[in-house]
């Protein structure tokens, strides 16, 4: 079997065999095939090879494949979103619980609209300054001041939700780590100060 010298047409024969050509190209190949025995032979060979490979392939069970596929994307997306929502809120509730514990130890802080933090009650364990919380406090509007003190367990669910919402707007939280303190102890030992 010899090759037709018309390389352009020979190159298009597989697409022609599959009916993928249109317009001028389809007409060009049809004309050449009609006039050229070598092109007809090659076209026949393409059909033979296609048939041989197709017949040799096992039939696949479409229904079984479809059963193995994931369900449509929309419910999956919804599931993902809901999972993200839960994980986000778990952290918020955990943070709120931590705050309640801290508050329960007797600390009372008041965030003022001007960004200053006023210590309302004393704590022997925690000390912080206005500078520590100024950036977060500055991000709050004047009417968004949060005041809480004493037993936060007295707060209602609505109050806690409000608190969580406002926590979202805080860029940082006040440090609850105790600051290092250099003890100054004056002991008068017989007129000498140690």
């Amino acid at each position: 079997m010899t090759d037709c010298p018309n390389g352009t047409v020979r190159d298009l024969l597989p697409e022609y065999a599959h009916g993928l050509l249109e317009g001028n190209e389809a007409a060009l190949v049809a004309e050449q095939v009609a006039a050229c025995a070598m092109c007809r032979e090659e076209l026949a060979l393409l059909g033979q090879v296609n048939e041989g490979l197709t017949r040799g392939a096992p039939r696949v069970d479409v229904a079984a494949i479809v059963r193995a596929l994931p369900t449509a994307a929309t419910p999956r997306l919804a599931q993902t979103t809901s999972r993200r929502w839960v994980s986000r809120h778990v952290w918020q509730y955990a943070t709120a619980a931590g705050l309640i514990l801290v508050a329960g130890s007797g600390i009372v802080w008041k965030y003022e609209p001007d960004g200053q933090v006023t210590r309302v009650a004393d704590s022997s364990h925690v000390a912080t300054t206005a500078a520590d919380v100024a950036p977060s406090a500055a991000s709050m509007s004047a009417d968004e001041g949060i005041t809480f003190g004493g037993g936060l367990s007295d707060l209602s669910v609505d109050d806690l939700q409000l608190l969580l919402g406002q926590m979202d707007s805080l860029r940082t939280l006040p440090s609850t780590d105790p600051q290092s303190v250099t003890p100054v102890i004056a002991i008068n030992d017989g007129g000498k100060t140690l």
Binding site: M1, R10, P14, L20, E25, G52, A57, R59, V62
Partner: protein, 185 residues
């Protein structure tokens, strides 16, 4: 080259994907129906004798799991063939490891190959299969995609990880080799 019919096919796939993403599971069936047999044909033509259906199924599962990231830069069919080819390579590697462990001899493999070739009843068809089997793996991939799917060289190049020009050369060399083998009778 005119791509009219091809574009219609590509557009239909895009529409079916969108329907599936909106929750229409029947669109998934249509997509599988459109492409599964072509994938099986390709795998079998590359010499895969067992687990063709499993390979095709894995291809679809992988594709559907990442359809959200499918950008339609290539056609769905090209993308599916690319996934299938990767899975076939993975399996070949695993088979090679397994074979080296059990030390299967060459004769055993050839015997198994010939016996299964008998599934193609027609003698002429068997000759065609043998002619294709004698091609190099890359020639066989390019030739199969071109002959059985009418795939364009650009798409074939994506599937086999080569260039359009190289694929054209591989196709014509493969065609010459097949003709020579069949005219030896």
């Amino acid at each position: 080259m005119s791509a009219g019919n091809r574009d219609v096919d590509v557009q239909l796939d895009v529409t079916l994907i969108a329907r599936w993403q909106r929750g229409d599971q029947r669109a998934a069936s249509e997509l599988v129906e459109r492409h599964a047999q072509a994938l099986a044909r390709f795998a079998a033509a590359q010499g895969v004798r067992e687990g063709v259906e499993e390979l095709v199924q894995d291809t679809f599962v992988r594709a559907f799991n990442s359809l959200e990231s499918f950008r339609a830069e290539s056609s769905l069919r090209t993308w599916l063939f690319t996934i299938l080819k990767r899975l076939m390579l993975d399996r070949q590697r695993a088979d090679r490891r397994a074979k080296s462990q059990v030390e299967l001899d060459e004769g055993h493999a050839v015997q198994e190959f010939n016996a299964l070739d008998g599934l193609v009843a027609d003698e002429a068809m068997q000759r065609v299969r043998q002619a294709v089997d004698r091609l190099s793996p890359l020639q066989r991939e390019v030739f199969t995609l071109r002959v059985t799917e009418g795939m364009a060289y650009t798409e074939i190049a994506r599937v086999v990880g080569s260039t359009e020009g190289a694929c054209r050369v591989h196709y014509h060399n493969a065609m010459r080799a097949v003709k020579e083998y069949l005219s030896d009778d």
